[in-house]
């Protein structure tokens, strides 16, 4: 059987999502049987784009011209392009200050010293290219990544998740941090799939996986407000991972 040819690329992000793949130590030998990691600069050098790919897994958002070029190049060469992690799907932490003056931000970070590269407002992948599938999370769960790869090996794309963090949290029979502890738990608005990783440890959901389909932001804001969290606070919390949250 032919091994699937993959490109694993990182744009503006922390490389944590790519690292997730390298952390699958137990599965790596099996993965190498099934996949050729042809372009994977984080793990193997030299890394040169060459020929076509069965799939490109891209971490991070785009904030520099050369990233946009690389993304377009990956799209042109790949059957499937997959957004890996919240930055690639929604913009993520790098897009936290979107909407503010770039000039002002540049001065705050670099002062008067010249900055070598041109940057622009960080954007999720889908604002530039067509994305075939997404795996959200900061970082995604290891199981999700392995499932994605197993799906690709079978010639299919992963099934979309339609439930929030609350659903998995209830299945775990956890104490509800929103209704019982009046904390700012973003579980009802956040895409599930993490197995309620934070609420399992009594930590309110931070919303790192971005919005769940059909979420009811309007009603949620009303409930948070009753618990003493005003709209500005809640929206600021939500936008740490997904700048697209709007009223």
């Amino acid at each position: 059987m032919r091994r699937l040819r993959l490109a694993i690329a990182g744009l503006t992000a922390c490389s944590g999502c790519q690292l997730l793949l390298l952390n699958c130590e137990d599965e790596l030998p099996e993965l190498l049987e099934q996949f050729e990691f042809h372009f994977f600069p984080l793990a193997c050098s030299p890394a040169l784009l060459e020929g076509e790919y069965d799939a490109a897994l891209v971490e991070g958002c785009i904030s520099m011209p050369h990233e946009k070029e690389l993304l377009l190049e990956l799209r042109r060469r790949s059957v499937y392009l997959i957004a890996l992690g919240t930055c690639a799907v929604w913009g993520g932490v790098a897009a936290l200050r979107n909407g503010e003056s770039r000039e002002l931000l540049r001065q705050q970070v670099y002062g008067q010293s010249p900055v070598a590269s041109e940057t622009f407002e960080p954007l999720p992948l889908q604002s530039v290219v067509h994305v075939d599938a997404v795996v959200a999370g900061c970082p995604p769960e290891k199981e999700e990544l392995l499932r994605l790869l197993a799906d690709l090996a079978r010639g299919v794309l992963p099934v979309d998740i339609d439930y929030s963090v609350c659903a998995e949290c209830r299945m775990k029979e956890n104490l509800c941090l929103l209704t019982e502890r009046d904390t700012l738990c973003l579980g009802p608005l956040t895409l599930g799939g993490c197995g309620a990783r934070c609420p399992n440890m009594s930590v309110p959901c931070e919303g790192c996986r971005g919005p769940v389909p059909e979420c009811n932001l309007h009603k949620a804001l009303e409930i948070y407000e009753q618990k003493g969290f005003d709209r500005t606070t809640v929206l600021a919390r939500l936008r740490r991972f997904c700048p697209g949250w709007k009223l």
């Binding site: 197993a150 609350c166 209830r170 029979e173 104490l175 509800c176 979420c215």
Partner: protein, 329 residues
């Protein structure tokens, strides 16, 4: 009237004897205050004052997420081999017993579910009477579901009046005979009286799709799924198949689903039978209060109140049911 009686101070001795037969689970209040069905190991007493657990006992019969088939290219699809040791559930309220009765009708009917059937036959059910709180609705309308149990403890002064409901219950009474005595006591009507009423499966007119309440409920719902995940009779599940990395094996999984979720009524091609949440609320209401399919006319709601307790938006279908089903509180 002569009745079998077990004193409150013999509860621990009773559990000790039960543990000799099988693992015993009952309502346990955790350090976080949540009451869950969990193992009653030596020294842990069930919290019989708790009105309800967070998850109902359905979690023992249908696991939130479980493998239902395994595939290999050599052997094809095969049922997972699961050993099901006997388990005693202690302290089930009549609503939860009725909930199990409802699940039995679904999963042990014409085409029994093998996983459910194996787990169900391993279960011994010990019920206990209770006092409904403001969230309960078992007492509001008659249910045809029976609160069947192997043993039932009816709370009386100083202990419990104990009665058997099956040969398995008789066997347990034998195990308990040194701590059970016959007493002449006045036994109050127990809380099972809310169940087991014959309801004529009357044909009702179709629920009006244009009722403004469906949209009002949809607008107030966060879509978190808690209502059905914590419901003792909600048993909708999703079936997913995941391939193995070797490209030659797979597992087929079923996991709890919710009729208010986007993909619940979605079919191939992205079409959906119930595109918006208002339509889904009508569907949910119909199932809970009128039943459908082979269980048409049998309301699926056992009145445990969990959906109301766990809903972050405080949604309550009771006022609507009071009007549409002409229930007089």
């Amino acid at each position: 009237m002569a009745t079998l009686f077990i004193a409150q101070h013999n509860l621990e001795a009773m559990l000790e004897r039960l543990r000799r037969k099988a693992e015993v689970h009952g309502p346990v209040r955790g350090e976080d205050g949540v009451v869950r069905f969990a193992e009653l190991i030596h020294g842990i007493l069930p919290d019989l004052s708790a009105i309800r657990t967070l998850l109902p006992p359905k979690k023992y019969l249908l696991h939130p997420r479980e493998t239902i088939l395994k595939y290999t290219s050599e052997a094809g699809y095969q049922l997972p081999s699961e050993s099901v040791p006997p388990l005693i559930l202690f302290g089930l309220h009549p609503c939860d017993l009725a909930g199990i009765n409802y699940l039995d009708r679904i999963f042990l009917g014409e085409d029994p579910d093998p996983l459910y059937a194996a787990r169900r036959s391993a279960l011994t059910l010990i019920g206990v009477s209770c006092t409904p709180d403001e969230f309960c609705s078992c007492h509001l309308y008659p249910s045809p579901l029976k609160a069947l149990s192997d043993l039932f403890l009816n709370s009386v002064k100083g202990g419990f009046a104990i009665s058997s409901g099956s040969p398995r219950g008789e066997e347990l009474l034998e195990v308990l005979k040194d701590i059970v005595e016959e007493r002449d006591i006045n036994v109050p009507e127990d809380t099972r009286r809310f169940f087991g009423h014959a309801v004529s499966a009357q044909v009702r007119p179709e629920l009006d799709a244009t009722l403004p309440e469906w949209q009002e409920l949809a607008d107030a719902c966060l879509g978190c799924g808690a209502c059905s995940l914590c419901c003792p009779t909600c048993s909708c599940f999703d079936v997913l198949e995941f391939g193995g990395l070797d490209g030659r094996s797979a597992v087929r999984v079923r996991q709890w689903d919710n009729c208010l979720f986007k993909c619940h009524a979605e079919v191939a091609g992205g079409m959906s039978f119930r595109k918006n949440r208002a339509e889904r609320f009508r569907y949910r209401y119909r199932h809970k209060y009128r039943g459908f399919g082979p269980l048409q006319g049998i309301p699926a709601c056992v009145g445990c109140g969990r959906c109301r307790v766990v809903c972050p938006a405080g949604l309550d279908l009771r006022p609507l049911a009071a009007r549409l089903e002409e229930i007089t509180p």
